[in-house]
Symmetry: C2
Subunit: 173 residues, 2 copies
DNA sequence: CCTTGACGGTTACACTGTAACATATGCTAT
DNA sequence: ATAGCATATGTTACAGTGTAACCGTCAAGG
């Protein structure tokens, strides 16, 4: 229970800065740049819809439902039927450019694309912010438990619901 | 809630015996008995529908969708509209007698009711078996990461998809 | 040119979950 | 006992989430 406010993260490559105030615009620009880089090195086709879908997630800076993404895509002149959004989102998730938050039936841009990572999500029940935390500790623990029963983990989702620092302070009980 | 009281089992108190061959009937009988005990000590009303819903989960011994549970309830003379199943399942989950598997939109009986625990689910993608593992290691790691960014975890879901021992051996590529 | 394959668009539908209201059951205070 | 209240079960109707299947477009390559 060590109280850490917003110190620079120690090792672990934490990315959960989402809870700290920051410059959204930079988030979007850098996020897109990272995605472009990943797409280039992996030979992915980051088409217009896909690119725009990712941009929408980066701008929102919170988890968006597929239909929310769809609305924005439609507003930009893309198709307005569900598969349009689902296909773009599936693509992004499959290639590690976005994540699906099971608990919310929603999607969020990946803050750390390109590197293999075992993301973990912190979902604030008061303000709905979603932070992606990195780090191997949880994954290692999970692998350990699985190994004890002979289970081979391929993919894992770890999602915690609670209160973010700001909402805690605001007495978000 | 960060206080997780686990059994005194050596090595994490695993309960993931689900992957090992075992006597289903006993599972059901003992599961019901445990639930009765919990209901008694906590003053819960384990009514006919609720009890039957739990029994259905225990019998299936895998995760069931709400509508699957509903079908069986209806076949037993209970209502045949969705809220019937959802209410029973919500009750069971709320009181720790069952768990919801987010990834599958499904429910499974709790193998360890009564005690506060931080369950973790191992989902075999080949045979669809779901094992509930206990243990504090993963939870502790999660709390640690959360604490670093000042996030207060209230509830967490940890779900891993992969291959169970049997399917691994069967070359479940 | 013409085939091939990926992509994006559509229609139509399936699955999952909930709001709101009506009825029954059981407890409690008088 | 019974009136009043809370809880539980049942209903109808609908909202939200996700997918199957088909079709036209377009770029790459024989």
């Amino acid at each position: 229970m060590s109280d850490v406010r917003e110190s620079a993260d120690p090792g672990q490559g934490l990315t959960a800065a989402a809870f700290a105030p920051h410059d959204h615009k930079r988030c979007r620009v850098e996020g897109l740049a990272r995605a472009e880089a990943v797409a280039a090195t992996e030979g992915l086709r980051l088409t217009a819809v896909r690119r725009r879908a990712l941009e929408i997630l980066l701008e929102a800076h919170r988890a968006l439902g597929a239909y929310e993404v769809l609305d924005r895509l439609a507003a930009d002149g893309f198709g307005r039927q569900p598969p349009v959004a689902y296909r773009a989102l599936d693509f992004l998730v499959e290639h590690g450019l976005a994540h699906r938050i099971q608990r919310l039936n929603a999607y969020t841009a990946c803050m750390n694309p390109g590197r293999r990572h075992a993301p973990l999500f912190l979902i604030c029940r008061a303000c709905n912010a979603v932070a992606e935390a990195g780090g191997t500790r949880v994954r290692t623990a999970l692998e350990g438990v699985a190994a004890e029963v002979g289970f081979a983990v391929e993919r894992a989702s770890v999602e915690a619901v609670g209160l973010c620092p700001a909402c805690r302070q605001a007495g978000g009980a």
